[in-house]
């Protein structure tokens, strides 16, 4: 059963068609890759899925629920977490607060409970503290948990963004160019991390990535975008052989 389904999704910006009737089915528990040249509409696709732009046309179904009309935070609360291509952390919050603030908002103590320190609030505080510490530990950031996010190195910031996305216990995780700016050993670690997240947390991962080696190695299914259209979809071997893909993308890069 697909966890996420896109039916004829299009997105226009003042006459420019950034996405052109995209159909996509992302299977439960899979690692799904989206590739394509710059400006193909990959990040726009993520923005449409996460409710930053409502799609001009088409239907988005997440776990049997239409999400196209929902605002960004509602999509997040339903269980879609994401990272950003250009890292967007809460720079002047500590590492641990970056993660804690993202923990499940569905059942959160209200304003009065927080002000008065009611039991529901204290319980929530200690739970989210434990969970956040565990996530930060998993990302190897425990020693830096009290530092400001802005003082972390680039690679650490990328990992913190993943930890933050996981804090809300999503069932679908969107990673926007997670390997950007990493060297090859960091990329290997990242691949292990992505597998580990998928297996430990039983979630589905949708990722946009330029690094072909990484995509071909970890993705079970790949869709190729070009000028806002989906030009191919299949497993890594099929994609490598697809003539249109080679012509428009792979051929240029290799």
């Amino acid at each position: 059963m697909p966890v996420l389904e896109l039916q004829g999704v299009s997105q226009e910006f003042g006459g420019l068609r950034a996405l052109d009737s995209i159909d996509l089915q992302v299977e439960q528990n899979s690692i799904f890759g989206i590739i394509g040249p710059n400006g193909a509409g990959k990040t726009t696709l993520f923005n449409v899925i996460t409710g930053i732009y409502p799609p001009t046309e088409g239907r988005l179904i997440f776990q049997d629920q239409p999400i196209a009309a929902l605002s960004s935070h509602k999509v997040a609360r339903l269980g879609i977490g994401r990272t950003f291509q250009n890292i967007r952390l809460f720079n002047r919050l500590s590492v641990i607060d970056n993660v804690k603030v993202a923990a499940n908002w569905n059942r959160s103590a209200g304003l009065l409970a927080s002000l008065l320190g009611l039991p529901s609030y204290s319980r929530e505080q200690s739970q989210s503290q434990e969970k956040a510490e565990a996530l930060i530990d998993m990302m190897g950031l425990y020693a830096k948990r009290m530092e400001y996010a802005q003082s972390l190195s680039y690679g650490e910031q990328r990992r913190l963004e993943i930890a933050r996305a996981l804090a809300a216990v999503p069932s679908l995780l969107l990673l926007d160019e997670p390997a950007a700016g990493m060297n090859s050993s960091e990329k290997l670690e990242l691949m292990d991390l992505i597998w580990k997240i998928r297996d430990d947390m039983q979630l589905t991962i949708l990722l946009v990535e330029h690094d072909m080696h990484l995509v071909m190695n970890i993705c079970e299914q790949i869709a190729v975008l070009d000028y806002g259209r989906k030009i191919a979809e299949g497993d890594p071997d099929a994609i490598k052989r697809d003539p249109r893909v080679i012509q428009s993308y792979l051929g240029v890069e290799r």
Binding site: F13, G14, T43, N47, I52, Y53, F84
Partner: protein
């Protein structure tokens, strides 16, 4: 009555438009509300007054002198209060710095010239002519003609000259313009200089027209002119002109037909409504947020 109010509104509106142009040009390029712009206008009015009193010059020379002084002042304010902040801190910092510059300038003028309202000696003959049912004063003619002339000049500058093209390039995309070899700092200085000169011309003319110049005259005029710029669509030069005229006419009409005691509230009421209903203004373009 209606035509008379329309003429008065048009006169007031063209002075708003002159100030609004400075706001909109600066905003178009550096996305900053230059709060000190109203004070530049006030300084312009005082420099004009000073020239008229000290050397008994005519209105034209007083205006040119005020424009020259304010060009320098505008560039200085940008150098001292805005440039050190550009591109390195949050959006809030330059705004607060601008506010500081504005308070500094008006208080400084209050210390130099005193807080009392000064009057212009008669520089133009204040007779008025009857044109059918309406009375036209010679100062109104001067304001309308000079404003129109300056705005046409500005259009020519922005459309036809090299620096104008550089300005338009910078307002499209500052980083890309810099990569194309445009000296961005120079363009920004020019923008501040031109905007300040227009405001100074407005200041002198308003000082003569209402026969009143005081150190805090820039605050309200500046806020209203900014309202006009937003009304027309901030970043758009024709928008600032249109917004200024619209605001001037609406304010005069409001005073004439509703109540004069709510004069200052009318401009802001309109502004808030516009921002809520059509945040991009009359002529502004809607922008998609970048992610």
């Amino acid at each position: 009555m209606l035509w008379q109010q329309l003429l008065n509104g048009l006169t007031l509106g063209s002075t708003y438009a002159l100030i609004a142009l400075g706001y909109t040009m600066v905003y178009g390029i550096v996305q900053l509300i230059n709060f000190a712009h109203g004070e530049i206008y006030m300084v312009g009015a005082f420099v004009g007054l000073f020239l008229v009193i000290t050397w008994d010059v005519n209105l034209g020379i007083a205006m040119v002198g005020a424009m020259a002084v304010c060009m320098v002042l505008g560039v200085l304010v940008e150098r001292i209060a805005y440039r050190p902040l550009r591109g390195k801190s949050s959006r809030l910092s330059p705004l607060i710095s601008a506010l500081g510059a504005s308070i500094f300038l008006s208080t400084l003028m209050a210390l130099i010239a005193g807080v009392n309202t000064r009057r212009y000696p008669a520089v133009v003959d204040l007779s008025s002519y009857s044109l059918g049912p309406i009375q036209v004063s010679s100062m109104q003619v001067v304001i309308l003609l000079v404003s129109a002339g300056l705005m046409i000049g500005l259009q020519f500058l922005v459309r036809r000259t090299r620096i104008g093209k550089a300005m338009r390039a910078c307002s499209q995309d500052l980083d890309a313009a810099a990569l194309m070899g445009i000296n961005v700092n120079r363009v920004i200085s020019y923008t501040f200089a031109i905007g300040s000169a227009l405001a100074a011309a407005g200041g002198v003319m308003v000082g003569v027209y209402y026969n009143a110049v005081w150190p805090y005259m820039g605050t309200m005029a500046g806020l209203k002119a900014f309202a006009a710029a937003v009304l027309g669509g901030i970043g758009s030069i024709p928008g600032a002109m249109l917004g200024g005229l619209t605001l001037g006419i609406m304010e005069i009409m409001g005073v004439a037909y509703i109540s004069s005691s709510f004069k200052d509230a009318i401009a802001f009421g309109i502004l808030i409504l516009v921002l809520i209903l059509r945040p991009q203004g009359i002529l502004g373009e809607k922008k998609n947020k970048k992610v």
